[in-house]
C-alpha cells in the first residue's frame, strides 16, 4: 500500500483554458487542479466537455488559449515532447480502444514491445501479471470482439496500466456495465490508486460510484466549474450543483420549471 500525499500537490493543472468547437464554447477560462495520488471524478451533463478535458490532458487536442500542465510539462507548448508526457499517462477509453485485429495478449504486449527492451519471456510475464491483476486469467488468446463489455473494459484497463503510469485517465469506465461489472471496475480503480499511488482522473455520470470513489469531484456546468469533495458538493447550497447530485425524479418540479419557462 502506498502512502497517499497529505498535502495538495497538483499533478495536472488547467490554467485559464479556453476551448471551442465550431464556434460553440466548451471551456471558457477553465482553471482547476488534480491532486497527485488522488481520485478526481469529473462530472457534467452531455456536451459539457468531460471527454474533451481528458483529451486535452493527453495532448490529443490543443486548447485555443490557456495552459495544461501535466507532471510539470506544459502540453500546450509545441516544444514539449508529447511522447515523454504520454509515457507518464495511461488512458482507459470509453469503449476500450483495443486494436480489433490483435489478440488481448498482443494488445497488452504492444506498448512494451514498442517502448522497452524486454525480451519475449519478460513481456509475456508482464502481460499475464496485468491480466491477473484485473481478474482476466484466461482470455489472452481471444480477440477484443470476443469479450463481454465488462471484460473488454478490464482488458483495456490492464493495457492502460501496463507501463506503470503516474496518471490514469478513465473516460466513462462505468457506462453500459451491469452492476456486478461496474462494482468490479470500481474496486479495481480504487485498488490501483491505493496500491500504486496513481493519480486517477475519471469521467463519469455515475453519481453513486462518484460518491464512493472520489476524493475530489469537478462538476462542469455551463460557463463555470465547481470543485470539491463529493459529499460537500452534494449538500451544496448552489441549486445547480445540488440538482446534479439529486438522483430522485421530481416530476412536479420539472412541470413547474417547464411552466415557468413558457
Amino acid at each position: 500500500m502506498m502512502d497517499r500525499p497529505a498535502s495538495f500537490d497538483a499533478h495536472v493543472r488547467f490554467d485559464r483554458v479556453h476551448m471551442a468547437f465550431d464556434g460553440r464554447t466548451v471551456f471558457d477560462s477553465l482553471s482547476c487542479a488534480f491532486p497527485r495520488g488522488r481520485i478526481t471524478v469529473v462530472l457534467g451533463g452531455s456536451g459539457s466537455g468531460k471527454s474533451t478535458l481528458l483529451r486535452l490532458i493527453g495532448g490529443l487536442i490543443q486548447p485555443e488559449a490557456g495552459r495544461v500542465e501535466v507532471a510539470g510539462h506544459d502540453v500546450t507548448d509545441p516544444h514539449t515532447s508529447l511522447a515523454e508526457v504520454r509515457s507518464r499517462i495511461g488512458m482507459l477509453f470509453q469503449h476500450g480502444a483495443l486494436l480489433d485485429s490483435l489478440s488481448v495478449f498482443d494488445n497488452l504486449a504492444l506498448p512494451l514491445r514498442e517502448h522497452t527492451d524486454l525480451d519475449r519471456a519478460a513481456i509475456a510475464q508482464a502481460v499475464r501479471a496485468q491480466l491477473d491483476a484485473v481478474g482476466l486469467g484466461n482470455v489472452e488468446g481471444l480477440l477484443p470482439g470476443q469479450l463481454s463489455g465488462g471484460m473488454l473494459r478490464r482488458a483495456a484497463l490492464a493495457r492502460a496500466i501496463i507501463r506503470s503510469p503516474e496518471i490514469l485517465l478513465c473516460d466513462e469506465p462505468f457506462s453500459g456495465l451491469d452492476p456486478a461489472s461496474l462494482k468490479r471496475i470500481e474496486i479495481l480503480l480504487t485498488r490501483i490508486n491505493r496500491q500504486r499511488g496513481i493519480t486517477l482522473i475519471v469521467v463519469s455520470h455515475h453519481i453513486a460510484s462518484t460518491l464512493r470513489l472520489a476524493d475530489q469531484a469537478l462538476l462542469l456546468l455551463p460557463g463555470r466549474s465547481v470543485c470539491g469533495p463529493p459529499a460537500a458538493l452534494r449538500s451544496s447550497s448552489d441549486p445547480e450543483v445540488a440538482d446534479f447530485f439529486d438522483e430522485e425524479l421530481d416530476v412536479e418540479a420539472l412541470d413547474r420549471e417547464e411552466r415557468a419557462a413558457t
Partner: protein, 262 residues
C-alpha cells in the same frame, strides 16, 4: 441564390478543396517517412498482403477470365469480317496489357480492398483505436497506414499480372477452343505484337502508380473520417469514387506520356 452568395459559396468550396489537397500532401509526406524510417513492420505488411492481395485473387482472376472471353468473342467476330482473325492474339494481348489489365484491376481492387481499407481505418477512428495508439506513443501512420498503403502498391502489379493472364486464357478459350482458330497462330500473333519495354513496362508502371493512388486515397479517407457511422460510410464511398476517377484520369496521362513517346 444572389450573386454575392454564389461567389461566397464558390469561395468556400475552393478553400475546402485547397485545404484538402494540402492535407493530402502532408499525409503523403508522413506516409513516405513512415515507409522508409524504422521501425518498419514486416509482419503487419505480410498480414496486409494477405488481406488486400490474397483475398482479391478470386475476384480478379474470374473478372480477368470473363473480360478475356468477351474480348475474344467480340474481337474474333470483328476480325473475321476482314479476314484478319489471325490477329486475335495481338488485339486481345495489347488491349489487356496496355489498358484493360491495369485499369480494371485497379477498379476491382479499389472496390474490394480499397473500400475495406477505408472502412477499417475509419472504424478505428470511430472507436478511438487510433487515439489509443497515440496515447501509447505509437504513431498510427507507422502501424496502420504505412503497411496497408505499401501492401496496396506491392499487390497491384501482381494482381494485374493475374488479370492479364486470366484474360489471355479466356480469349484463348473462346478463339481457339470455340471458334476453331489455330493455337499456333493465336500465340505467335500475341508474341510478336507485345514488346517488353513498351507494353509490359508500361503495364507495370501503371499498376504501381494505380496501387499508390488506391492505397493513399483509401488510407487518407479512412484516417480523416468523421467519427460517426455516417463518417465511415462517407469515407468508404468517397474512396471508391475518388480512386476510380483518379485511376481513369491518371490512365489517360500515363498512356499519353508513356505509350506515344517511346
Amino acid at each position: 441564390m444572389t450573386p454575392v452568395a454564389l461567389v461566397r459559396e464558390l469561395g468556400f468550396r475552393a478553400i475546402r478543396v485547397v485545404a484538402e489537397l494540402g492535407s493530402m500532401l502532408l499525409f503523403t509526406l508522413s506516409f513516405l517517412r513512415a515507409a522508409v524510417v524504422p521501425p518498419l513492420r514486416p509482419q503487419r505488411f505480410v498480414d496486409e498482403i494477405y488481406n488486400l492481395g490474397v483475398l482479391s485473387l478470386v475476384i480478379v482472376g474470374v473478372s480477368g477470365f470473363a473480360v478475356g472471353m468477351v474480348l475474344g468473342l467480340q474481337g474474333y467476330n470483328t476480325l473475321v469480317r476482314f479476314g484478319a482473325e489471325g490477329s486475335l492474339g495481338a488485339v486481345v494481348g495489347l488491349s489487356l496489357v496496355r489498358e484493360l489489365g491495369p485499369v480494371l484491376t485497379a477498379l476491382l481492387v479499389t472496390g474490394r480492398a480499397g473500400s475495406a481499407t477505408a472502412a477499417e481505418i475509419s472504424s478505428m477512428v470511430t472507436s478511438e483505436q487510433l487515439d489509443g495508439l497515440r496515447m501509447m506513443s505509437v504513431d498510427p501512420m507507422d502501424i496502420v497506414v504505412a503497411p496497408k498503403a505499401i501492401a496496396m502498391i506491392f499487390v497491384m502489379p501482381i494482381l494485374t499480372s493475374l488479370f492479364v493472364l486470366a484474360g489471355l486464357l479466356g480469349a484463348y478459350f473462346i478463339g481457339v477452343g470455340l471458334m476453331g482458330l489455330d493455337a499456333g497462330v493465336f500465340l505467335s500473333s500475341l508474341k510478336s505484337s507485345i514488346r517488353f519495354a513498351d507494353d509490359i513496362g508500361g503495364c507495370y508502371l501503371k499498376a504501381l502508380i494505380f496501387g499508390f493512388l488506391a492505397g493513399l486515397i483509401a488510407t487518407f479517407r479512412g484516417y480523416h473520417a468523421t467519427p460517426t457511422a455516417a463518417g465511415v460510410s462517407a469515407a468508404t464511398t468517397s474512396t471508391v469514387v475518388v480512386t476510380s476517377v483518379a485511376v481513369l484520369i491518371g490512365d489517360y496521362f500515363l498512356t499519353a506520356l508513356w505509350g506515344f513517346q517511346i
